[in-house]
């Protein structure tokens, strides 16, 4: 992957437009033909390099076009950058990374004043501090997104005392990472509870000395430990859920040597008090089926086969309401009550009389 200075876009390899891949299998062909490339946080940047701009004095229009995707901090032509005849190269710096990502996606290969723009990231223009901030924001974003998902998942599971403290900590955490959250308008477009914070978009964000950057440096350090404590309770849940679903899906069968011992520990770490959703659903389904088997719908007596345990309930004479549907309803309720009291004998003494009064 040698680079040569004289070629077009040849100053850096990552500026070179790669050939589109035409050998993709059908099932994974995208909507647009794309090259084979991996985008990491290193490659992405607030700085965009735009090549192929026709030299017709249209800098203003170019910047206006890009500004549709987000606020631009600065822009300038790059006169020393190798360019095709009659074209210019520009550098545009966005206020935030997400705008740059969107702009790149939308504007790459777009026509502009008769020419075809080639837009790429230019991370080499970043200062050390900008790079540092970029990495920290990425980590904060992931921590926040995963924490929200975990929180959403744990809500559906059996609640433990962990939840109360977790809620408190989450609120606290989202407050501390609020300004940092401002950068990301979530490409996933999910319902990010932190969005109200980013809507505020504190003015600090537009100033070059953003107070959150110093706060973030601490966040770089405290974030991991903070999220560590916060997530300690949730990681097992997450992993347990995954391992329970493994039975349904084919796992990656590794032909190369793989430390199987480590895999075993993750599923054995699973805490029994949490029932994964699928198991709860199955549990409810099983109960429903058991109910149906008991055949209560038509008011048939609970059984000649059932073993009678506990004191015999007083036989309440059934009132005929002189109406089929009303009788059916009454029978249904009566039978349901009987069922419930079979399961919860404690209720009998107090509630039975109350319910009976209602039914009759």
């Amino acid at each position: 992957m040698a680079s040569s200075g004289g070629e077009l876009g040849g100053v850096f390899d990552h500026h070179v437009q790669r050939a589109v891949c035409d050998t993709r299998a059908k099932y994974r062909e995208g909507r647009r033909p794309r090259a084979v490339r991996v985008y990491t946080i290193n490659l992405e940047s607030r700085y965009l390099l735009i090549q192929g701009v026709p030299a017709v004095g249209a800098m203003k229009e170019l910047v206006e076009r890009f500004a549709l995707y987000g606020a631009i901090e600065q822009y300038n032509p790059l006169d020393e950058y190798p360019a095709e005849d009659f074209t210019e190269v520009y550098l545009i710096k966005f206020m935030n990374l997400q705008s740059a990502r969107t702009a790149k996606r939308k504007m790459d290969e777009q026509s502009f004043f008769g020419g075809l723009l080639h837009v790429c990231y230019a991370p080499e223009f970043e200062t050390v501090e900008e790079t540092r901030k970029k990495l920290q924001e990425r980590k904060a974003y992931i921590t926040r997104t995963t924490k929200n998902k975990d929180h959403h998942m744990t809500k559906k599971k059996l609640v433990t005392e962990l939840k109360d403290t977790k809620d408190f900590r989450q609120d606290f955490h989202s407050r501390t990472s609020g300004p940092c959250a401002a950068t990301l308008n979530t490409s996933t477009g999910n319902s990010d509870p932190c969005l109200p914070y980013s809507c505020e978009l504190p003015l600090c964000y537009f100033s070059s000395k953003c107070p959150c950057s110093s706060g973030e440096h601490m966040g770089w350090a405290s974030d991991s430990s903070w999220s560590g404590r916060n997530r300690a309770g949730t990681v097992e849940h997450c992993m347990h859920n995954d391992s329970s679903q493994k039975i349904q899906m084919k796992p990656f069968k590794n032909s190369l040597a793989c430390p199987g011992a480590q895999k075993a520990t993750t599923s054995s770490e699973a805490v029994d008090r949490f029932m994964p959703r699928t198991t709860q659903l199955q549990e409810r389904k099983r109960r429903r089926e058991d109910d149906r088997k008991v055949g209560t719908f038509l008011g048939t007596s609970t059984s000649s086969n059932a073993v009678m345990i506990g004191p015999l309930l007083p036989h309440i004479p059934k009132v005929d309401m002189h109406d089929d549907s009303l009788n059916t309803t009454a029978n249904l309720i009566r039978n349901k009550l009987q069922e419930v009291f079979h399961l919860c004998p404690n209720l009998q003494k107090t509630s039975w009389k109350m319910c009976v009064q209602v039914v009759h």
């Binding site: 992957m1 100053v11 050998t23 084979v36 990491t40 946080i41 050390v128 995963t146 990656f252 793989c258």
Partner: protein
Amino acid sequence: MAQKPKVDPHVGRLGYLQALVTEFQETESQDAKEQVLANLANFAYDPSNYPYLRQLQVLDLFLDSLSEENETLVEFAIGGLCNLCPDRANKEHILQTGGIPLIINCLSSPNEETVLSAVTTIMYLSSPGSGSPPELTAMPVVQCMLRFSLSANTRLRNLAQIFLEDFCSPSQVAEARTWQAHSALGIPLPRTEAPQQ
């Protein structure tokens, strides 16, 4: 991003990822392997995919691919790891499955992107202070970063500087400097070095 926009619900997503993993395991074409690995590595950018990727053991797939002879596969694999390692669960998995030596090896790759991804991954796997696995700030690594911090490659220089400032103690850096003066360090700089801006 080289990734088509999400349209299908996550049920379709898991099936798609499963198909990718299957193709990677079964195909004999290097091109197809590269394409699939790139696809998976790009999916690793989005946190909403992490449960699926863990379920399908894609993290292990990435780690295994670091030992491939094909440099492109290594580049894409370490890129994928770099994308997903800031997540705590993923990070723990990587640490538990002995991923550190494999990632440190990538520092000596001739491929620029591989080295950059490796440096960033090491940073994300470290926690400032005493929580970090000691191998991540071992002498050879710190010395390597010292050399990178003098590189003409701005991106590499920036990353190395951040590593030395945020993840190493001043004494570690000083010690590495002293050692470096005496030893002939074997980790070369990546081949693709850009001229100074």
